[in-house]
């Protein structure tokens, strides 16, 4: 563990050396990259910034190391590992990449692969995020779980606003719920991309779902997801995404009433994203709609659909070299289910505004400071204001 604490120093030295390619022989090259970010902020008592790893994005030290072993221009092995808050390292990506035909823009990737859905989850390095927090669609934890069932609608409604720790009646363990899209975990499977800079389509066939990526399949269901990206002009990128897969774990299926055990419980999602850049300004936006087939021990919740719609709009402006200002407005709405008192949203609507500034001390050392206001309609803490600072170094 002490060695881990030295890693930032190692990274600092590596960054100073600007050394990304550490070995090459003929057409084979080994490249490494990395990033260390340290974020400090007050305790988020409303758990608005918790991830499905149980950590707040505003109080986190994260080290990521990525490796690419390229064999010529057509084959590669890529991996990325992360250590968060000195916890044990997690493998974030591990896959092979192949371009079967030289000169043709068709690529295949297999393994623990980057998601094709949406935009944000592929914005790999911290410098791509002008703020500190993640968009709610990719991070905010709902009260739905994949490994257990609520007894009924009343229990689900009782948990509203407590996605960070969901414990339905009758079950001992409380765990975090599912985000709409897991922005910091990738799924396992194969994907293909075809197209060039103007238009491209990517599709993936994976083990888990957007909200619950998996390495090993545990429900015999697969997900198919796809995105079409169009660049009608330089600086403008438009994307449409869709996904469908089975999210409920096998253990949870055994808790279903006998008549429902042969059903499939899917997550479906659609997304639209855009990025427009001109001069010193960048504008990004994304909307994600998703629906889960509700799994519950009793009807009428069993058989209903739990829907959620999230969207955000984000802007960044470089005021002078190395200094930017940014802001993001972010909302999530949830659809109704039939509760004891009539139709009600199954989760508490939530919204956030985050504004911040960033300063590049050098090209590879960046500082950020943000102010964040969060609100939702339920939970122990319904509103909070947070300030956080972050230092990042990459190479």
């Amino acid at each position: 563990m002490k060695a881990l604490r030295l890693l930032p120093i190692v990274l600092l030295a590596a960054a100073a050396a600007d050394a990304a390619e550490i070995w090459s022989s003929g057409r084979t090259a080994l490249r490494i990259g990395g990033e260390f970010t340290g974020t400090a902020g007050p305790v988020d008592r409303g758990y608005f910034n918790d991830t499905d790893y149980g950590q707040s994005l505003l109080r986190q030290a994260r080290l990521s190391l990525s490796v690419e072993l390229a064999a010529g221009e057509r084959f590669g092995l890529l991996a990325e590992a992360r250590v968060e808050n000195m916890d044990h390292p997690r493998l974030y990506a591990l896959y092979v990449r192949a371009r079967p035909w030289a000169g043709r823009p068709f690529d295949l990737q297999a393994g623990l692969i980057p998601p094709v859905f949406g935009r944000f989850a592929r914005a790999g390095y911290g410098a791509d995020n002008p703020l500190i927090g993640d968009p709610l669609a990719y991070q905010y934890l709902t009260t739905l779980r994949a490994n257990t069932l609520p007894p009924g609608a009343a229990d689900l409604l009782r948990m509203r606003g407590n996605g960070w720790r969901v414990g339905y009646s009758g079950y001992q363990t409380a765990e975090s719920g599912l985000p709409m899209v897991a922005g910091r975990r990738w799924d396992t499977g194969v994907e293909a991309r075809v197209g060039g800079q103007s238009f491209q389509v990517a599709a993936a066939f994976t083990q888990g779902t957007l909200s619950e990526p998996r390495v090993r399949d545990d429900n015999d269901g697969k997900q198919i997801s796809a995105r079409a990206g169009w660049r009608p002009a330089a600086g403008l990128v438009l994307g449409l995404s869709a996904a469908r897969g089975e999210y409920l774990e096998e253990d949870a299926q055994e808790l279903l009433p006998a008549f429902a055990r042969d059903r499939t419980f899917r997550q479906r999602a659609m997304g639209a994203d855009l990025e427009y850049a001109r001069g010193h300004a960048v504008l990004r936006g994304e909307a994600v709609w998703t629906a889960w087939d509700a799994a519950a021990a009793t009807e009428p919740l069993l058989g209903e659909t739990l829907t959620a719609l999230a969207w955000y709009l984000e802007g960044k402006y470089v005021v002078f070299p190395g200094f930017h200002v940014a802001a993001r407005y972010d909302r999530v709405h949830f659809g109704d289910v039939q509760g004891p008192n009539g139709p009600e949203p199954w989760e508490a609507p939530v919204w956030r505004i985050e504004t911040g500034v960033g300063f590049a001390v050098t090209r590879q050392i960046r500082l950020k400071a943000v102010y964040q206001h969060n609100e939702r309609d339920a939970g122990f803490v319904r509103s909070n204001d947070l300030v956080a600072v972050q230092g990042a170094i990459w190479f």
Binding site: D18, A20, Q197, G279, V318, T362
Partner: protein, 226 residues
Amino acid sequence: MVLRPDRRRTGTGFAFAALVLAGAATAHAQPGTIRGRVDVRRESAPPASRPSVSELGQPPGSEPIDRRRSVVYLEAAPQGAFEEPERGRVVLDQRNQTFVPHVLAITTGTTVDFLNSDRTYHNVFSLSKARRFDLGRYPRNQVRSVRFDRPGVVRVFCDIHSHMSAFVLVFAHRYFAVTSPDGTYRIDRVPAGRYSLVAWNEGQERETRAIEVPPGGAAEADFMLR
């Protein structure tokens, strides 16, 4: 001394003097030539692309960069050197996600036109002390210009494509040369006298030689940068 490289990048610290005179230079003697060859034995670690882990496929390739191009310059310029301002314009192209040329040597007052020849946006910027700028994002066939008024080494990058980098060396005099692909160089019209001649490569390899330029003749100096 007339050039002050960015210490953070070069790792070599140079002292700085605003006015530099080479005491041995003979102002009225017939000028001579300095020529020679720079042999770069150890190539600098290239700032290659970071691992493209979050890409959905192979990212577009970039042009190979000749990192053996060096710059040879007089550390102390002759008297009168600063009275010869050459305020020209040069183009630094962005082609196939590569700055072309990779090393540019200019005199103070020169304007560099950063042309974008790619189909994608580029965002040229520098955080170097000698010239800090950010040109924002601009499309193909458009040019953004920067005038360099202070001597020094300016490291140039693209904010969108992290593997793109270039060096702009800004001199307060005209006694410098960028080596040709075979490593040879030639600095003409140098007043006769004794000088310190410096060979620079990628901000890391650097060697200094004392030379004497004879009136109307040539001085030869070869360097080997390891």
